[in-house]
Symmetry: C2
């Protein structure tokens, strides 16, 4: 079951974190990223391709090719990756699945959920990828 993000998005986030945690000028192949993160390689390859199309990641074709971040890790936020893959609808929709989530027509948990949703958004917005280097590395080393 998905928590909040689709698998595609989760893997995309992980891959970007991986790239941010590694050497900036080097490229990493989808195979290597998949191996390190222990996620399906063809799938992550597709995701990286789409993130390349979105402009978040840049790719180098051919032998010795691979993927790297398109900008400085200090300029990329988790929300950027989410926006590119899953979109931002989750931050506007009712947690109970009712239509028209708004303070005009609130569901029973609208106020509480609204707060949490905002904080979740902040969690993805406040920091940039460079801040996560250490934690990412130790997390990956424990996979």
């Amino acid at each position: 079951m998905t928590i909040i993000f689709s698998k595609k998005c989760e893997y995309g986030l992980q891959a970007c974190l991986y790239l941010a945690a590694n050497k900036k000028d080097e490229v990493y192949t989808s195979d290597e990223i998949a191996k390190q993160l222990k996620i399906p390689k063809e799938f992550v390859s597709k995701i990286l391709q789409s993130l390349t199309a979105s402009g978040l990641i840049s790719s180098k074709k051919g032998k010795n090719g691979g993927f790297s971040l398109a900008k400085d890790p200090q300029k990329i936020k988790l929300i950027d990756i989410v926006a590119a893959i899953d979109g931002l609808d989750i931050f506007e929709n009712c947690v109970l699945g009712f239509p028209n989530c708004s303070s005009d027509t609130p569901c029973p948990v609208h106020n509480k959920w609204g707060e949490l949703r905002t904080k979740a958004y902040q969690m993805l917005t406040e920091e940039t990828l460079d801040v996560f280097k250490e934690t990412t590395l130790t997390k990956i080393n424990n996979l």
Copy 2:
């Protein structure tokens, strides 16, 4: 896209809120519930059946039959419905999709997410269905 809960769970939550907001001793057919909530009737029928099996809802078969809450709305919490349908894994898993979510092997957002997750859990745990009567009715009237 799912926010947190599956459609099945969303509809189950809505249906239970509907029942809690209405007359306690009356039964409501899946058709009526579906119509009121504007959700697919066969689907909600299935969901109500499974909630009946879980013991949250009780059903009356045959003509003039239908569904009602199995206990007082004061004894049912949203979390009970979630637990019966989607389970509680979401409250234990990593929002970025990494395995082994714990403070021993935290991902970059583990601390923040942990807090939000706890608050989301509280949101579903603190109050019982009877508290939601009013809000539910006005929400449904605006569908």
